[in-house]
């Protein structure tokens, strides 16, 4: 299927993957998440083996794959899951298993009779992952003594190692900034179709991309920078954006937007900086196609590890230009009407130092949301805005998110939890002129 046909469906992109598209690979039910670009040469490392991602091209998003032990090595094959008809059986077993406990089970690492070599031999003979798991269970001296919950947990653990599953998902950028934090920024920033959203995005393009997605190709997201060098927007490429959406992502410096008739020198400087940025993006996309994300720490962009892919990428999808410099007409429009809202993710900067210059660019009564990993800079910013009456409805919020494990007789919050999603200062710009407050 040619890529052009697939791109016609503007809603949530296509239903089916295509050569060169970005995907999110969900390994073993969320244990590991990997962004990948699907090309004939790209591979995925599972355990200590590399599997080709070729079989994933042309499959619907949401398809499930398992690792098979083929003659030529491990490969990914499609699995059509059947509705669970053994759910009732499992539940009966669980109730009867309640009377067992672990008083006699000693953890001395001697319970399993099969050795690593035995397992490798089974693999060589073409045993499926499920068969290996069954063999491990049969050769475990302590398995029968376990409670049914414990048995289920053991089986799942072995399955994840010997029969890993890979779920093919649409890339959805919610792994760097904590998902609830990002979602709040988008709501508090009143992001909607036809808006003109001003963003300061030092999260690698995550914020810009998320805003652009919600604009749906209408309006603009203006990625601005404090100072002269524009911030990288690599993450935007992962979104598989259509041409319309790409065009809505533009760059402008603060001076561009504040003064209309700019000295040609300044605008040339920024133009060359932008061009260099776009060039280096294109270069990067030819050498990088895999990005691994670790789930355990949620500290933002520092977790993004770019792995160079050694296989050459032959036909990269025509990467639509993202982050072009805003045209003079657009700048004029923003100067006349103001931006509909502003969202800031600049964890390394002091917010007040630039918010005082950016706020006047927003329309009267426009909402804004400023994220920071630390509370104090937002407290100072809030105070300064209050004293100058530049904004009202000011609030500092800290999002709190906890996931639950929901299983029969085993429902409880998850053991792991993210400690902090950062802080957000939100408010609405007033129509009072700052100058009258002196």
């Amino acid at each position: 299927m040619s890529q052009n046909n697939v791109q016609l469906d503007p809603i949530r992109n296509a239903q089916v993957t295509w050569e060169g598209c970005s995907v999110l690979l969900d390994i073993n039910d969320g244990d590991r998440l990997v962004f990948a670009r699907l090309t004939s040469g790209s591979t995925l490392k599972i355990g200590n083996k590399n599997c080709s991602l070729q079989p994933l091209i042309g499959c619907p998003f949401g398809s499930l794959f398992q690792v098979d032990n083929g003659k030529e090595g491990p490969n990914l094959s499609r699995v059509i899951p059947s509705p669970e008809d053994d759910v009732q059986e499992k539940e009966d077993a669980q109730i009867s298993g309640e009377f067992r406990d672990n008083r006699a089970i000693v953890d001395d690492n001697k319970a399993q009779c099969l050795s690593g070599e035995d397992i490798d031999e089974m693999r060589r003979q073409g045993a499926t992952g499920e068969e290996i798991v069954e063999a491990l269970i049969a050769n475990s001296a302590t398995f029968e003594k376990k409670t049914s919950f414990s048995q289920e947990k053991y089986k799942l653990k072995k399955q994840k190692k010997y029969a890993p599953k890979v779920l093919l998902r649409r890339p959805f950028a919610r792994r760097f900034l904590r998902v609830d934090t990002l979602s709040l920024l988008l709501s508090m920033g009143n992001v909607a179709a036809n808006s003109d959203v001003l963003v300061v995005d030092m999260a690698g393009g995550l914020l810009t991309g998320a805003v652009a997605e919600r604009l749906g190709g209408t309006g603009y997201v203006c990625n601005t920078c404090i100072g002269d060098s524009p911030y990288p927007m690599d993450i935007v490429r992962i979104f598989n954006f259509s041409n319309e959406i790409c065009k809505s992502i533009v760059r402008a410096s603060v001076s561009d937007v504040t003064s209309q008739s700019e000295t040609s020198e300044q605008s040339d400087q920024l133009e060359s900086a932008c061009n260099m940025e776009i060039q280096s993006n294109e270069q990067k996309s030819s050498s990088v196609s895999m990005e691994d994300i670790s789930l355990s720490s949620e500290n933002g962009v520092s977790d993004l590890i770019l792995e160079a892919n050694h296989s050459p990428v032959n036909k990269i999808s025509k990467s639509h230009k993202v982050g072009e410099k805003a045209s003079q007409e657009t700048l004029k429009l923003w100067k006349e009407n103001g931006f509909s809202s502003m969202i800031v993710v600049a964890p390394e900067l002091d917010p007040w130092s630039f918010v005082k210059d950016l706020l006047p660019l927003l329309s009267y009564s426009a909402p804004f949301a400023i994220y920071h990993q630390y509370l104090q800079p937002l407290a100072t910013c809030m105070h300064s805005l209050q004293v100058r009456k530049m904004a009202i409805g000011l609030q500092i919020s800290e999002p709190w998110l906890r996931e639950y494990q929901v299983l029969p007789s085993r429902t409880h919050p998850c053991m792991q939890m993210s400690g902090c999603g950062g802080y957000i200062l939100s408010g609405t710009r007033t129509a009072t002129n700052a100058s009258s407050q002196q």
Partner: protein, 311 residues
């Protein structure tokens, strides 16, 4: 309310007109939605405000009463609307709303099914997310509440993107006409597991469902029935902790929380800074933040699930 209508979009030049909906802001925890009418007046404890004074001013303006008190006039947004709407039922607030919209992967053009409509708090945000090319079909089994919701959507200007139906989704499921067309479904029902088989039929391939339930027993039962046809089943709770700030003068000698007399204020004035008019003096004062004493402990559990890909 939505910028999809260019005549309503806020800008430096857009001024308040007769018939506009404005949010009258007294304090951050005291706001009201008011429809502007040439001959009307708005009364509160600060005095009487003539609407005619408002007309022609930009949104975000400070306006005065006959007694010299003031309020601000803000342009409505779904966030502000959630804070001012009349509660006919318990509503969802911004933390849950924003999380739901993100996790349901809603973008302009999507088709969303919702039940129950309740007071339309979430519905308004759903409309913003899918406008102008998408649509929200929302259902409630209570005829009067459905009618009130319809009125609200007219008032806030989102009615072109929302259709309210009166229907018992638990008993009858969603209408067949939506089979295979929904990008996402949101359920806020007492017994959501009764609606899950119908939800499965309505969803597009790889579509996403969200069920909101206050009680863990409801969550357990919902997850059981989801396991048959859905994958990636996850349950969360989300809360917002808010902070208050205070300026602390470094020269005050009392070590305990009271500080100088000027800084002991009751909660209502916390957002105004004491020593009013005082410019910042970085040598003498710092701004401190602490969590608010009042906090919400629980709203409900959010369970998300993705339709299994069976072809």
């Amino acid at each position: 309310m939505l910028p999809t209508d260019p005549t309503k979009k806020i800008s430096f030049t857009r001024c308040i007109k007769e018939g506009d909906l404005v949010i009258v802001y007294e304090r951050h925890d005291c706001m009201k939605a008011v429809k502007v009418c040439q001959n009307s007046a708005f009364q509160n404890r600060f005095g009487a405000f003539k609407h005619s004074d408002w007309i022609g001013k930009p949104f975000g303006s400070m306006v005065f009463s006959n007694k010299g008190g003031f309020v601000y006039l803000l342009a409505p947004t779904p966030e502000l609307w959630t804070l001012v709407l009349s509660h006919r039922t318990q509503i969802l607030y911004i933390a849950d709303i924003s999380f739901v919209i993100m996790y349901l992967e809603l973008v302009p053009g999507c088709l969303v099914l919702e039940s129950g409509t309740g007071s339309g708090s979430l519905t308004t945000s759903l409309a913003r997310a899918v406008a102008p090319t998408g649509h929200v079909y929302t259902f409630d089994f209570h005829e009067q509440r459905a009618a009130s919701a319809r009125e609200d959507f007219e008032r806030t200007g989102v009615s072109s993107f929302v259709t309210v139906g009166v229907r018992d989704i638990q008993g009858q499921g969603f209408p067949d006409e939506f089979s295979g067309l929904a990008d996402s479904i949101f359920l806020d029902l007492p017994q959501p597991w009764l609606a899950i088989p119908s939800a499965k039929k309505m969803l597009k391939q790889d579509g996403i469902l969200c069920s909101f339930s206050p009680c863990i027993e409801q969550v357990q039962r919902s997850c059981e029935s989801l396991r048959l046809n859905f994958t990636d089943i996850r349950t969360f709770e989300i809360l917002l902790r808010t902070y208050e700030i205070r300026q602390w003068r470094a020269d005050c000698t009392q070590g305990t929380g009271g500080g100088s007399a000027g800084s002991i204020r009751h909660k209502r004035k916390q957002h105004l800074i004491e020593g009013s008019g005082e410019q910042e003096n970085p040598n003498n004062s710092t701004v401190m933040a602490r969590p608010n004493g009042e906090a919400r402990g629980h709203t409900g559990y959010l369970t998300f699930a993705r339709l299994k890909c069976l072809s």
